[in-house]
């Protein structure tokens, strides 16, 4: 368990440019449209954008999803029609169909950004036109600007900046907890913070499109997710100050995260210990079930969501796994400094990707488990390499004490499965074609 802390910060980061096998920020709509229930996400883009969201969310049961794409056509590009007029018409059609929408979010894409379509202006104009009913916001989810979870970052930053336009609610926020987490996780955190006696805690995003409480110099904020660089900057520009902490994954991460809040607000150590004692014990107990499956296992993490440094820290310190490489699409040095400092020496850190070269590195390392995206998972499995597909970390309740065991189980499951399903795993089977 608790190895001495040796910072791996001096290790040179591998920086590579080449093919990136990652999602663009549009993918964030898949969970954001469920989190904020009276918002509608309208992508201004191409058929590719529509196809992406549909493929990624294809198994959803939908009668009427709360997202759509305004697909640009040749007429729009040839300048035969005014794209702003076109967008206005489609938005009017949409609102006619869905009068229940309280917040309309225009989402920029690669094509809309390459042709320099001014989405900010469009959002302002539509907001005026509908008298802020619904409120109209915009953010970029394009692949050229954002990777996967960075879409959420841009959305939350837009929500914060919206205070300047649409004002705030009566309340003043003392603590902002930023980052989308599962409802059950949010409720658990809310209970713990309440027990510490904290008032005026705001979760960002909230479950509806209501205006945020006022954020100002008296506001402290803490990140529940590691991918929120733009959101942090937007909060700081309003005067809010960040509470520095590990991210709340595993018993250790959750305790450190809560402790940072407790210390900031002057919660007595005895009180903190009393509040967290039982859930800490439960988290350790639940995690222990899976340690034998993961102890000593060599794990390689491909870049996906920026959660990788935190996941690696958890794997290494609470499950005794050996980390070979931690890939992240982007490293926010300041936000993940604590996580990186807890990784044992010798762990490779990589930022960005050249997927072919990274696959070569991965094969050469012969890992026991590879954490990677769905474009790589089955091909690795067919080679006999066990994988855990990474998108699940964005779609599963994994933060906090009560989910520590669930998080361990996510990693243990493919290894357990390999042991259960006997037979030839050499990948020597007929291809789909």
């Amino acid at each position: 368990m608790n190895q001495p802390l040796v910072s791996c910060a001096p290790t040179a980061t591998i920086r590579q440019r080449g093919q990136h096998e990652v999602f663009c920020g549009l993918t964030s709509i898949i969970w954001l449209h469920r989190k904020v229930q009276d918002a509608f996400f309208l992508v201004v883009g191409s058929r590719t954008c529509a196809h992406l969201i549909q493929s990624a969310a294809g198994v959803m049961i939908f009668s009427e999803p709360r997202f759509a794409t305004a697909i640009m056509e040749e007429r729009d590009l040839a300048g035969m029609v005014d794209m702003h007029d076109e967008l206005d018409r489609e938005v009017a059609r949409l609102l006619e169909r869905r009068p229940d929408i309280r917040m309309l979010v225009l989402v920029g894409s690669c094509p809309s950004e390459v042709i320099k379509f001014d989405l900010n202006r469009a959002a302002e104009r539509l907001d005026k036109r509908f008298g802020s009913r619904p409120r109209v916001l915009c953010y970029s989810g394009s692949g050229i600007e954002t990777t996967f979870t960075q879409g959420e970052d841009n959305f939350l930053a837009a929500l914060v900046r919206d205070q300047a336009v649409h004002g705030a609610s009566e309340k003043v926020a003392k603590l902002v907890v930023a980052g989308s987490v599962a409802d059950v996780v949010e409720d658990q955190f809310a209970r713990l913070l309440d027990e510490m006696g904290l008032e005026d805690v705001v979760f960002l995003p909230g479950r509806s499109s209501e205006r945020l409480p006022k954020i100002g110099p008296e506001t402290r904020f803490i990140l529940a997710q590691p991918y929120l660089g733009a959101t942090a900057a937007a909060l700081e520009s309003l005067g809010a100050r960040r509470i520095n902490a590990l991210f709340p994954l595993g018993e250790e991460g959750t305790t450190a995260w809560l402790k940072a809040i407790a210390d900031t607000f002057g919660v007595a150590p005895a009180r903190f210990a009393a509040i967290t004692e039982a859930p800490r014990r439960r988290a350790l107990e639940a995690t222990a079930h899976y340690r034998s499956a993961l102890a000593g296992k060599r794990i390689f993490l491909f870049p996906d969501s920026q959660m990788e440094p935190s996941l690696a820290r958890y794997l290494s310190r609470e499950l005794d796994a050996e980390i070979i490489e931690v890939g992240s699409p982007y490293l926010h040095r300041e936000h993940v400094a604590g996580e990186l400092a807890m990784l044992p020496p010798g762990v490779s850190i990589s930022e960005g990707q050249d997927v072919e070269i990274q696959i070569d590195r991965c094969r050469a390392a012969k890992p026991d488990l590879v954490v990677c995206g769905m474009g790589l998972a089955n091909p690795f499995e067919a080679e006999g390499i066990v994988t855990k597909w990474s998108i699940e970390f964005a779609f599963t309740p994994i933060q906090g004490y009560e989910q520590a065991g669930d998080l361990a189980e996510l990693f243990a499951r493919p290894l357990t499965r390999k042991a259960m399903i006997a037979g030839d795993r050499s990948g020597n089977r007929r291809a789909a074609s």
């Binding site: 191409s46 590009l77 390459v114 394009s142 692949g143």
Partner: protein
Amino acid sequence: MKLTMWTYEGPPHVGAMRIAASMKGVHYVLHAPQGDTYADLLFTMIERRPSRPPVTYTTFQARDLAGSTADVFKNACRDAVERFQPDALLVGASCTAELLQDDPAGLAKTLDVAIPVVPLELPSYQKKENWGAAETFYRLVRTFTGGRERPADIAPNSCNILGPSALGFRNRDDVTEISRLLAANGIDVRVVAPLGATVEDLARLPEAAFNIVLYPEIGDSAARYLKKTFGMPIVSTIPIGVGATRAFLAEVRALAGLPNDELVGEAEDRATWYARSVDSNYLTNKRVFVFGDATHAIAAARIASRELGFKVCGLGTYMREFAREVREAAEEFGIEALISDDHLDVEQAIIDARPELVLGTQMERHIAKRLRVPCAVISSPVHVQDFPARYSPQMGFEGANVIFDSWVHPLMMGLEEHLLQMFRDDFEFNDGATASHLHETHAAVPAPAAPVEVAAPAAAAVVEGPVGWTAEAETELKKIPFFVRGKARRNTELFAAGKGIQPITVETLYDAKAHFAR
């Protein structure tokens, strides 16, 4: 701009990818922004391929736009050729790269790679996935048959199969089934393409006597080119359904110069007897709405009508390129074809047609679920459950067997249908419950409105002016089984409006019933 919540087809470069992924030794370098690699999941997850599709993406980002994205593209080409050593390289742009105008075709010419490079011009803002696949396949065929001579002595029974591809609906098993059937009937299949073919195989295409196009959406343009250039006849009957399979075999055998007195393989046809057997009686004139790609939709409508005795009450396709063929087919059933790629139009057409069964795509599955109408999938776009592990062709005699089972399965079974008409108030078995051979997917709700009565506001415009119902008539209407109740309501309202009857009484309901008969 066009508001789209669901798209029946992906962009054309996804079609190009399907061709590259179908073939061996073909690599595709796609100029595309970061994130467009999502398309890999179509192959690795939906089709469950055990290998990555042979596609290299440039995945440029915003910071690259300031520099030379053209250099990024050229380097990606060189690296791909060096790493994968393909026999041919496809180069093209995705929708965003199309806006940059880096001209992949021109750039690829300056690469000096030692293999053929086939540039693709796929207009992303006009065309879609199937067109992209057809165009890519045509370009490849043109490139690799170019300058070839047609041999002087060609065996008359030799043919190629064109059209099957990766991510095609049941293509894997269709090819197996049809190849087997052709071999049994004395036909020699030389090349199957693009699925499983190499560029060397493409070069051998002119060496066969004729071409069989199983999937016109993808194989048509290549087949037409081969006909024009080498005079190769095309077999265009699609062997989906028993009748179509017989016609197909007859056509092929005639082309091959073989006698047509016996067709091999008919012994495997169980669908014909199943449809004739008495428990299929109740299928007669069940109203069915058909939608999909043109090939599968037309084939399905004919099977439904001629082989299963359903009544086709709607037929349509999302492929404008094949609108003419679908319109002609719709005339056979005395209906007007629906040509639209807007799922809201399709939903409205289904509501208006009030079918008892929907045969469609993944999207119609969603729509039918919402309207609580039974549904079976007959065409792309499909999801992971329609790439099954078991042998599941749609074509040939075994395909017809598969179709019989999968289309009849969602319908309520005959005896239960009878009992529902006899006894309406059973606490377990009633209108609100799912057919009892299908497990309940949601908590039973107290007798909800019949599926087709969940009509959008626009559907009310069917009748001129609102026609009221007396309470007794409404109650009487509820005694009609739910799967035909919507039709009965509509017919009664039409009848009443035509006769100027207001309000509708129990009498009117039965007058209308006598007037229309089922």
